[in-house]
């Protein structure tokens, strides 16, 4: 039974949240050493407010984990699991306890570390507080998931919000925002911060426009996953797209509008933080260059099953080659012409988007 519940609830939870957990781990342990964490823990043990903040974060994580189990219980493919309620309550509680403990391992591990230090320094109020909080979270979680099992398909209160029409141009951006928000935030924040950083760095020394080009190259590479996401979205959700009577040029125009929309915040940031020594026309040229290269990535990937490792290796090679070319003083206008020219050639060669055999 434990193996079954693990496959139904625990493994899918970690698989679905692998990216978020990895980012959390990188943020927590990439920038902070163990000694930094110990200093933070020691401070929290003596500060009810800081300790309360830790517990608040644990509460959020628990909420996410329990919400996942409850959503899995309601999924059509898991309806067979309703038979689980026929098992005696104590045994069922014990199995739910396994599931909850497995799901809460990250916070239980950190709480254990805190408890260890609290006992060592005889911080008994903190020991009681942490023990109570962790026990409370685990107990409430067990009761909460078991309640959903015993009360399936609840009547939900629905707010009747006005439904605004979504035009085709916003199909993918809406999907990105609603279904893959972390990817959206990471892509746009990384790219935006990088470009702002480059713009702020520019006047501090005797840099030339190659610095801006390097920034642009990295910002485009931060968007490399977007083309694969667009392709996967069309393949999975918009099968009827290839039955639409669009010419190749109409489809290129549609994707041009889509990528221009996605790439628009970078233009606003570049114009807002444009160094005095750089002409606005050059900033516009940079933005157009980036757009051309985003479209090239799209035409290369669209409709293909791309091996992620191979794709990453190609991007790394492109970065090194691009860096060398920029250092060799190849101007932005040539980059712009290359990106747009290659996009046209590749899309003509692949006869996108109809994907007919050559």
């Amino acid at each position: 039974m434990r193996s079954l519940v693990s496959r139904l609830f625990v493994r899918p939870f970690y698989a679905q949240n692998a990216g978020t957990l990895l980012i959390g781990l990188l943020l927590a342990f990439g920038f902070m050493r163990a000694s930094d964490h110990e200093a933070l823990i020691d401070a929290a043990l003596g500060s009810p407010m800081l300790l309360g903040f830790f517990m608040f974060l644990w509460g959020l994580y628990t909420l996410k984990a329990v919400a996942f189990v409850r959503s899995q219980l309601a999924a059509p493919e898991q309806l067979f699991f309703n038979a689980f309620r026929l098992i005696a309550a104590p045994v069922r509680g014990l199995i739910w306890l396994w599931v909850v403990v497995d799901l809460l391992i990250p916070i239980l591990g950190y709480a254990g570390w805190m408890l260890f230090r609290a006992v060592r320094f005889a911080q008994w109020p903190a020991v009681y507080a942490i023990t109570t909080a962790v026990t409370g979270l685990v107990t409430v979680s067990v009761i909460w998931v078991d309640y959903r099992l015993r009360h399936p398909s609840p009547t939900r209160l629905r707010l009747s919000l006005p439904s605004l029409p979504i035009p085709y141009l916003l199909f993918f951006p809406t999907y990105w925002l609603r279904k893959e928000p972390i990817s959206l935030v990471l892509t746009k924040v990384s790219s935006g911060l990088l470009l702002v950083g480059v713009c702020l760095l520019y006047p501090t020394d005797d840099y030339d426009e190659r610095l801006l080009l390097i920034g642009l190259l990295l910002a485009v590479l931060f968007h490399a996953a977007v083309s694969r996401q667009v392709s996967a979205f069309d393949r999975h959700y918009l099968l009827l797209l290839d039955n639409m009577p669009y010419s190749v040029w109409q489809r290129i125009t549609q994707y041009l509008a889509l990528y221009a929309l996605i790439w628009l915040p970078e233009l606003a940031l570049l114009l807002r933080h444009c160094p005095d020594a750089v002409a606005v026309q050059y900033v516009l040229l940079l933005w157009l260059t980036g757009l051309g290269w985003l479209l090239l990535l799209h035409t290369l990937v669209y409709g293909r099953q791309v091996d992620p490792d191979r794709w990453l290796a190609c991007l790394f090679a492109a970065f090194v080659l691009g860096l060398l070319t920029i250092m060799a003083h190849v101007p932005a206008s040539v980059w712009c012409a290359l990106g747009w020219g290659a996009t046209i050639v590749v899309s003509r060669f692949r006869r996108l988007p109809l994907r007919v055999a050559p």
């Binding site: 439904s163 979504i166 035009p167 809406t174 009577p245 190749v248």
Partner: protein, 215 residues
């Protein structure tokens, strides 16, 4: 009339469908075959959704690969198990397809009423049952001025009343010169449609089993 010549479809190097020559006259055509025989693959090829080698020609004029726009204006397709982004509504998807297929004014409202889609017009598709999704896919398949409509398993999950209205509408469209191809694992006699010909898809190819003239 649709003509298929030297069609070959392979997945990962393995041929799944070979049609040296096939001419399908206007009318209502029923394609049958066991699970995995290639019915959906064939319809998707004809709809222009899958790459293949060979030629698919509509009315001896419109090549699915050489005249993609003209061809796709005339050939529509309804999926067996439609999947749409769950945040979109019937209104969003219909607006998109109607514009692309150049639907005449008033057609969307007429079809939405016919298929009962008006009742959930502004609800996101995540709230739809499989029958509601099927109705939406059937609505999308009739938008524009198609000459050939491909209906993959149209009977599945559709309620009896809607099915009766749909097949009455299909009958009217066929009298106006529209051809309809359908696949079904259910008894097509239930549709009440006069089937022009029945085709069997098996062992990776297609052959005629009966038609209205020879029986």
């Amino acid at each position: 009339m649709l003509t298929v010549t030297d069609l070959n479809k392979a997945y990962e190097g393995k041929t799944v469908l070979t049609v040296p020559k096939l001419t399908v006259p206007p009318g209502i055509h029923y394609f049958r075959g066991s699970n995995g025989s290639g019915k959906t693959t064939f319809l998707r090829i004809v709809a222009g959704l899958l790459p293949f080698t060979g030629t698919v020609l509509l009315d001896n004029t419109y090549d699915s690969q050489r005249q993609p726009v003209d061809y796709r204006l005339r050939v529509n397709y309804a999926e067996a198990e439609p999947v749409y982004p769950d945040f979109l509504t019937a209104r969003d998807l219909t607006a998109f397809v109607a514009k692309a297929k150049r639907a005449p004014a008033g057609q969307v409202d007429q079809l939405a009423d016919l298929l009962g889609v008006t009742a959930f017009w502004t609800q996101p598709t995540r709230t739809y049952s499989s029958g509601m999704l099927k109705k939406l896919s059937l609505l999308l398949a009739w938008l524009g001025r198609p000459q050939l409509v491909l209906l993959d398993e149209p009977l599945t999950t559709l309620d009896v009343e809607t099915a009766a209205r749909l097949f009455d509408f299909v009958h009217q469209q066929v009298r106006r010169g529209v051809s309809v191809w359908l696949t079904s694992h259910q008894d097509v006699a239930l549709t009440g449609l006069p089937i022009t010909a029945t085709w069997q898809i098996s062992t990776g190819t297609i052959h005629l089993t009966s038609d209205a003239f020879t029986g």
